[in-house]
């Protein structure tokens, strides 16, 4: 009943492009399309058109005014993206033309699709499972090309396939245990726990592998949350401006100009960064600035990456040491800025200080010049190594980019660990099935094979904030 209406939208995005597609979906789609489209001889023809056959002709409005030369295709339900009767009109990609055709579809009875509504209908009509629907939403909102590639994989069902395979194997173990409980005469559990132990190890490994991609997956999708730290006037804002390619932060020679926190999203050859520039950290009486410093510390706490900028033209001091202590347990890169000036601090000296503060680790040190724009390439390579083991190209491996999926995988992993414990503790076989079942159900949540009303609600609320 809430899907009785027929909806329309520009499916290709309302920006100038080569081709634009107007998609009309719902019970009236064909008759609306029939009104909207005339064939080469000026006759309506979509009503009797074969499904999935391209027709050449013209789009017209209510008054019969020709809007554009177009191709039209009818896709009869359920063989369409939404699973409903659908008409797609391919027109020239000018914003004005697309808008006019869309408006004409409204004249004939369609209404504008809500954000994500095509996807929602596709999901409701069983054309895609939950993870696929979520992937579509990710595509819509995807910030960078790698995140997009991963979403597309999920859309193709790679994640679904991997999860389904694991689930199938878990199910066959549950079934075996239960069959043996029911028919002990014909099905023996002798030696079974040893077999299940091996199987569990294997399943744990596979779930872990998916899980491991979750963090880098999230970073791909959302970008690396990055905080720039350093003493005042070492060139933090200049670095940010360099990365951004524009003068956004106020840069002066007076220490303490950046009073507020700046957040910017940048993309360096496919790696997304959400960069926070902070007020230079120093002891200060200025209250406004003090707030900035506290917040910088908070941001540093939550960040995926900390860039510590030092001015290599002035000697290191205790203050550097103090701020650098914030790098503890954090992915960090140290940038020796102003390499265009006289080098007072060498990389070696910096390494010594790092060794002094963190005897057990190394932190990459790169010389850069924010002013001249040198060292950026090396910086990119270092970050790539830090987060993506050097490989930041997407090899169509499955990458988990969704927090809900990550949670479900984690729960499933935990349950499989419980199975492992039960086997090690010599529990009777029927105990295994409790945790096997939990693992099975959790994985089912990812692909929507287990209905969880929280998820349904979440998904639907998500549909409404998508494009």
């Amino acid at each position: 009943m809430f899907q009785d209406s027929t909806i329309a939208a520009v499916a290709t995005g309302l920006t100038d492009s080569g081709i634009g597609i107007i998609r009309i979906s719902g019970p009236e789609a064909v008759s609306i399309g029939d009104n909207l489209f005339r064939n080469a001889s000026g006759k309506p023809c979509l009503k009797d058109s074969e499904s999935h056959k391209m027709r050449y002709g013209f789009a017209v409005d209510k008054n019969g005014v020709v809007l554009d030369e177009v191709m039209a295709v009818v896709m009869k339900r359920p063989r369409s993206f939404t699973g409903e009767d659908t008409v797609e009109i391919q027109c020239h990609g000018g914003v004005l033309v697309m808008r006019k055709i869309l408006e004409a579809s409204f004249q004939f009875g369609a209404r504008l699709a809500e954000p994500g509504e095509f996807t929602k209908r596709a999901f409701l009509n069983g054309k895609m499972d939950l993870s696929e629907a979520e992937a579509v939403m990710d595509v819509i909102r995807s910030g960078n090309e790698y995140a997009l590639a991963s979403s597309v994989d999920q859309l193709r069902g790679n994640l679904s396939e991997a999860v389904k395979a694991i689930r199938k194997e878990i199910l066959s173990e549950i079934a075996f245990i239960e069959a043996a409980l029911d028919d002990p005469e014909h099905i023996s559990l002798e030696g079974y726990s040893a077999r299940l132990s091996l199987k569990t190890e294997n399943l744990l490994g596979r779930v872990k592998k998916l899980l491991d991609t979750a963090d880098s997956g999230r970073l791909m999708k959302e970008g690396i949350s990055t905080v720039i730290l350093g003493k005042p006037n070492v060139g933090k804002s200049s670095l940010l401006n360099l990365l951004l390619g524009e003068d956004r932060a106020i840069v002066t020679d007076v220490a303490g100009t950046t009073r507020d926190i700046l957040e910017e999203h940048i993309n360096l050859h496919g790696i997304g960064f959400n960069i926070v520039d902070t007020a230079g950290i120093r002891e200060t009486d200025n209250i406004v600035e003090q707030i900035g410093v506290d917040r910088a510390k908070q941001y540093a706490d939550k960040a995926d990456l900390i860039l510590y900028v030092a001015d290599c033209s002035v000697p290191l001091e205790d203050k550097d040491r103090e701020i650098m202590s914030l790098l503890e347990n954090k992915n960090a890169v140290i940038l020796l800025n102003k390499s265009d000036l006289q080098n007072v601090v060498t990389e070696e000296e910096m390494n010594k200080m790092i060794k002094d503060i963190f005897p057990e680790r190394t932190i990459p040190v790169i010389g850069i010049s924010a002013k001249e724009g040198t060292g950026i390439e090396e910086f990119e390579n270092v970050v790539r190594n830090l987060f993506f083991e050097g490989e930041f190209t997407h090899h169509h491996e499955i990458v988990i980019t969704n927090l809900r999926h990550k949670e479900a995988l984690q729960n499933s992993y935990d349950s499989l660990m419980m199975v492992k414990n039960s086997i090690e503790n010599g529990m009777e076989e029927d105990f295994y099935s409790i945790d096997l079942t939990s693992a099975y159900q959790e994985l089912g949540k990812i692909i929507g094979e287990e209905v969880d009303d929280d998820v349904v609600e979440e998904i639907f609320s998500k549909f409404c904030i998508g494009k």
Binding site: R121, D182, E428, I434, D435, V451, D452
Partner: protein, 644 residues
């Protein structure tokens, strides 16, 4: 022509295990009840196996007892051997099984019925149900029953418990007789009346093995199977001391390649394989023909020789039910070690009968299209005495509730095997006689046979079948369990010499720091019982209390995790689907799902999700629809209250 015309509250048709429980429940709740049977000598007859209980069926008996049913007490009075099965496995699958003296069982149940106030036994075949149509709702309502002799009993509710008697026929190879089990009269008239009311019937079959003259069996070639040394009674109200008595033995032997050869060579003479039988048989209680065909690689199958009673030398040949012709049966049985010279008293046979697809029932076991009409037992497409008794009890209770104008009682999957049984019957597409099995209960660690009273006595009390005294006893037991668990969790023992010596002597690791007694019970090699040595403050508690304490502590983690699964499950059960829902309005349902939902008319989202052909996506659609529907209702209510 003058005819008998009587008035009563409830009519129960059939006096098997379902009918007895249904009639007793109604009468005990104060309703005037008539129970009809084609033969008073066949009350609570056990026409197949001579035992009550067994894997998962034992759970059902205990649940029936916890709710105030009779089966548990009756077998405690009449058992001749008793055994707790699966004790080497986890507590969820422990199950009690007792051999019954069949004649005794039947006689004792008849005695209970005869002495029950408000209950009348009537030997008569019911041929017709009487009903009327509500002029407003157009819904049928049952008004009475009519017997073969023309007598009419007007009543407010009817419980159908016809078992395997409707249009029954028995098959032994090529020979067919039109009788019910054990040569009893079949009921050939009621089916037409039911069909006229719009009830759909179908045909199922089941079978039973031969009975042999015990004197012709050579037991020296078999393994003797003893009962338990300490017998646990089925009923929570039976004094455990009263069931410690002498027991008889059963005997185990095996089929062999020779047996299988004979069966294979004569399969064309089996009515099932020859296509004479139209009914579908139970996969889980297969005939020996089925086993030989299905487990072709198996060299032998178990055969249990079990006594039918103390005052007969008839022996039941468990595991070898068959519908092969007489001559093949004899040849086949005689290949089994110990049965070489056997004499058959009663041939094995298969029986075919009319029953229903239980999707026509609500979980209350009332027909969806006829109010006041309930059904239980094999008529609903199940198999087994215990399954029958459980349904009979529920159908009887809800028939009584409908007459009394009280709310019906529902049983869900997370609280009892009864709930699993009924939900499976009314929700799933069962194509063969339904047998209870451990694996069907997904929350089985919670649904143990040992805690059936803790799970269900309160419900029995609310229904009115459990007395105040019994209920107070339950509360006392609960209290004792709770307090003892608390004490064990709060009592710490230090890492002192005495404790460490004790632990080492038990093969357990010494303590590093102090530990609670509860923590020690969790160790696989320790138990509540052995810890008595280091538990100075312990007071002696009843065995049924310490059993619960031990299980709840030892398996606490597993129980907690299973409870979380139940929570998830209950969320969906609580989302009720309005009875007047129009599935044609839920536009995005797939066609198959729409058809199934219209057919089953589930009462909740949870039930809907278990219907085969309804996918998770369909359930999501329903969830969204319901949300939408509820909001609409709410805003309408808001409007109308504004109007006031």
């Amino acid at each position: 022509m003058p005819e008998i015309r009587e008035k009563t509250d409830v009519c129960v048709i059939g006096a098997g295990h379902a009918g007895c429980e249904a009639a007793l429940a109604c009468a005990r709740l104060g309703l005037e009840t008539v129970i009809f049977t084609v033969s008073v000598d066949s009350i609570a007859l056990m026409p197949c196996n001579p035992n009550i209980g067994g894997s998962s069926k034992g759970h059902l008996v205990r649940e029936v007892d916890a709710l105030g049913g009779e089966m548990g007490r009756n077998i405690d009075k009449t058992f001749i051997q008793s055994k707790m099965l699966n004790v080497s496995k986890g507590p969820a699958v422990h199950s009690l099984r007792a051999q019954a003296d069949k004649a005794d069982y039947s006689r004792e149940m008849r005695k209970v019925l005869e002495n029950q106030d408000h209950l009348v036994i009537k030997q008569a075949e019911v041929c017709e149900l009487l009903w009327e149509e509500d002029s407003n709702s157009k819904k049928k309502k049952v008004t009475g029953v009519k017997t073969f002799t023309g007598a009419v009993y007007e009543c407010k509710a009817v419980v159908l418990c016809t078992g395997t008697y409707l249009r029954a026929r028995c098959l032994c190879g090529e020979s067919i007789t039109y009788t019910g089990p054990n040569g009893l009269q079949a009921a050939n008239h009621l089916t037409d009346s039911l069909e006229k009311m719009g009830i759909e019937l179908r045909r199922f079959k089941t079978g039973t093995p031969a009975r042999m003259d015990g004197r012709s069996i050579d037991y020296s070639k078999m393994e003797e199977q003893f009962g338990d040394e300490r017998v646990v009674p089925f009923s929570f109200s039976t004094d455990p001391e009263s069931v410690q008595k002498d027991q008889v033995s059963c005997w185990l032997t095996y089929t062999n390649e020779k047996t299988h050869e004979i069966i294979r060579a004569n399969l064309d003479r089996s009515p099932i394989y020859a296509g004479i039988i139209e009914g579908t048989g139970p996969r889980y209680c297969p005939s020996i023909e089925d086993k030989v065909v299905k487990f072709a690689g198996k060299e032998r199958h178990q055969v249990f020789i079990e006594p039918e009673g103390l005052h007969t030398n008839e022996m039941y040949v468990g595991g070898m039910s068959s519908s092969l012709p007489e001559d093949v049966q004899l040849a086949m049985y005689r290949t089994v070690p110990g049965l070489e010279n056997c004499k058959i008293v009663k041939n094995a046979y298969a029986i075919e009968y009319d029953c229903i697809n239980a999707r026509q029932l609500y979980p209350t076991l009332e027909f969806k299209n006829v109010s006041g009409l309930f059904s239980g037992g094999q008529f609903n497409g199940s198999s087994g005495y215990e399954e029958a008794a459980a349904q009979g009890l529920v159908a009887g209770v809800n028939a009584a509730m409908s007459v009394l104008g009280r709310e019906p009682f529902l049983f869900d999957r997370s609280e009892s095997y009864i709930g699993v049984l009924i939900d499976d019957l009314v929700t799933k597409d069962n194509r063969e006689p339904y047998r209870m099995m451990t694996s069907r209960a997904e929350y089985r660690l919670l649904l143990r046979q040992d805690n059936a009273d803790l799970r269900l006595r309160k419900k029995g009390y609310e229904i009115g079948l459990i007395s105040e005294t019994q209920y107070q006893e339950l509360l006392k037991k609960e209290e004792m369990i709770k307090n003892e668990i608390k004490r064990l969790k709060e009592t710490y023992v230090g890492a002192n010499r005495e404790i460490q010596d004790f632990l080492v002597s038990m093969g357990s690791t010494p303590l590093k720091t102090a530990a609670s007694l509860a923590e020690l019970i969790c160790r696989p090699e320790l138990s509540y019982e052995v810890l008595s040595e280091i538990d100075a403050e312990r007071v002696i508690l009843p065995e049924n209390v310490t059993e619960q304490v031990q299980i709840e502590i030892k398996y606490e983690g597993y129980i907690a995790r299973q409870l979380r699964q139940v929570e998830q499950y209950k969320k969906m059960e609580k989302k009720l689907i309005p009875t007047d829902i129009n599935y044609d309005q839920v536009s995005s349902l797939r066609l198959e799902a729409r058809q199934k939902l219209k057919l089953f008319r589930p009462i909740s989202i949870g039930q809907a999700s278990r219907i085969s052909g309804v996918s998770p996506a369909d359930v999501s659609v329903l969830l969204v629809y319901l949300e939408h529907y509820n909001r609409q209702q709410e805003s309408e209510r808001g409007k109308s209250s504004e109007g006031l």
